[in-house]
Amino acid sequence: MERLVPTPSLGVIPERDSDKPLILDIHGLGIDFGGLHAVEDFTLLIGRTEIAGLIGPNGAGKTTVFNLITSVYQPTRGVILFDGYDTRGKRPDEVCRMGIARTFQNIRLFKDMSVLDNVLVGMHNHIPYSMLSAFLHLPSYHRKEKEARDKAMDLLGIFDMQNMAKWQAGSLPYGAQRRLEIVRALATEPKLLLLDEPAAGMNPAETAELMENIRSIRDRFGIAILLIEHDMSLVMGICEGIAVLNYGKIIAKGSPEQIKNNPTVIEAYLGKQEA
């Protein structure tokens, strides 16, 4: 696969990432559903270890952008370069193996499986043993399975969920299900983590805790995180760069401070003031 050179920086890349190649370089991205331009001329750059936010009113096309990045949809126009590689024409599972992991707005856990098994499924491509050793239970099977379980427990430890390892994923409380989805996504060893409304349904205390968790995940794994969120305290609190989407188009980009005071953004959220 040919590695393409990212275009010169157009967005807000944190200082520390500025001399490194971009992790995500989306240029002129667009998708039509029938006659509707669901996403139009979408351009976004994300640095290696940046926490970026994608916000916008309901129906603006935020989740559609996630589905485009993860190849659930194929774009009508535009290019997505992930770590310098074109993702167009790839299947979602291939994109995941390239290093993009995601969570879902409407939680999609393996509900009938245990919490631990959910994480182990996430580690699927990083548990190297042959099917022969699995059928014969050769030493390599036991060793690799144990390593995987230890690592899964370690990941669950990010959210202090080790004691829930044996619970059925579907029986977890809502907030824990959201956290488990993040752990499962991390288990795929991503370079870019996409979080679709991670704080939805959480109370302010839980949201504050989640904020700390997201930051520590970035620091520990050295990855980039792009998140969709409606909770402005979270977005403004942790995002270094924010893009605002409305009717499928980016209407503003910048630091939290710039976004807060941007009149176009205020208008998109609150409507135009009557003269």
Partner: protein, 362 residues
């Protein structure tokens, strides 16, 4: 908060041991009956078919219960295994003295042939979902039946001869027909034995449990649970569906070989939609994904028509009524709840008894 529910696939070590134990106890029970001369001839003739049906049910459970895709053409794979096994057995019979070894080779050959066809059919078929998949597998099952119904195979000193639709095998003097179209295969060596059948059941159980305990099994279960999420964590859905489907066909093929070689004559019409549905009934009745359930259901429902023989003309009517009754009872939430409560009571009683006993001693 609710602890994890007892996993219905019975993945815990204890659950697995109970299932293996069940098969061994059945084997021992039959052996004792046989030794004391209490085994009726009717049941004797059913022993190998019971094992074959159990294996068929287990293999279909992999597709329907564990993978979660409805297949109505399972008899097609059974049939491919059956006739491949017959050809292998007939060809190698003069060379191999031991019936056990001959059966083993025939089983392997039948399984591999069915697995290969399963793989080829799976490529186009598994693109479909739900009802569509069911209909297409039904069609493939019928195609396989018709093909074998028109196939003539003969063996002479020059080797194997094949012909299709018309019988023009042109065998030499020393030749004999192995398969003659709609008349099927006759004069088969009845090399399938009860112990061979039990060993195949145990092998299948071992195979499926080991599969479920591996990363591949986890991926398959995850796909059934939520395909979109499975894809999002890097699981190649098409590939693993095909793998599971092929494995299911492989096991069904072995069951077919075992089945066919327990009769002296077999024809392809035996492996029709009725058989596919019958296997599906075993799986649904035993519980989707429940391996022990499949074994019990297949065993009981194979013996049931024989037990009802005294009802003569009303036999199949009674069979159907019993089947409906079982389905209603096992799916009745009130009864199921009542049963789990009784089980809990019983458990509580035992722990109390144990405690009081310990207290008495202490």
């Amino acid at each position: 908060m609710e602890r994890i529910k007892k996993f219905h696939l019975g993945k815990t070590r204890r659950e697995k041991l109970i299932t293996f134990g069940l098969v061994l106890v059945f084997f021992g029970f039959i052996e004792i009956l046989q030794a004391t001369g209490n085994l009726s001839n009717l049941l004797k003739g059913q022993l190998v078919p019971i094992c074959a049906y159990v294996v068929m049910a287990l293999s279909l459970n992999l597709t329907v219960g564990i993978l979660g895709e409805l297949s109505l053409g399972h008899a097609g794979f059974v049939s491919i295994g059956a006739f491949t096994g017959i050809v292998i057995a007939q060809v190698l019979r003069p060379a191999i003295e031991s019936n056990g070894l001959l059966l083993l080779i025939a089983l392997a050959g039948g399984g591999i042939a069915a697995g290969l066809i399963g793989f080829l059919i799976g490529i186009p078929v598994l693109r479909l979902r739900g009802d569509y998949l069911a209909i297409v597998t039904l069609a493939f099952g019928e195609i396989i039946k018709s093909l074998i119904n028109n196939l003539y195979i003969g063996l002479d000193s020059k080797g194997l001869h094949f012909s299709f639709i018309n019988d023009n095998l042109r065998l030499l003097e020393d030749g004999k027909k192995i398969l003659s179209g709609p008349l099927g295969a006759n004069g088969l060596p009845r090399i399938s034995s009860f112990i061979g059948g039990i060993l195949l059941v145990l092998f299948t159980l071992y195979f499926l449990y080991r599969l479920l305990g591996s990363r591949l099994g986890r991926a398959i279960l995850a796909m059934r649970d939520n395909a979109i999420a499975a894809e999002s964590v890097g699981i190649n859905i098409t590939r693993y569906k095909l793998t599971a489907f092929t494995m299911s066909a492989f096991i069904a093929g072995m069951a077919g070989t075992l089945f066919a070689l327990s009769f002296s004559s077999v024809n392809a019409s035996k492996f029709n939609v009725d058989m596919s549905i019958l296997i599906l009934v075993f799986v649904v009745l035993g519980g989707l994904g429940n391996l022990r359930g499949s074994i019990i259901a297949a065993g009981l429902l194979t013996v049931l028509p024989e037990l009802l023989r005294s009802l003569r003309d009303y036999r199949m009517l009674a069979y159907s009524v019993i089947l409906i009754a079982i389905m209603l009872v096992t799916n009745n939430q009130i009864l199921v709840h009542w049963w789990t409560q009784r089980k809990k009571d019983l458990k509580g009683l035992f722990t109390r008894l144990r405690k009081s006993k310990q207290g008495g001693e202490g």
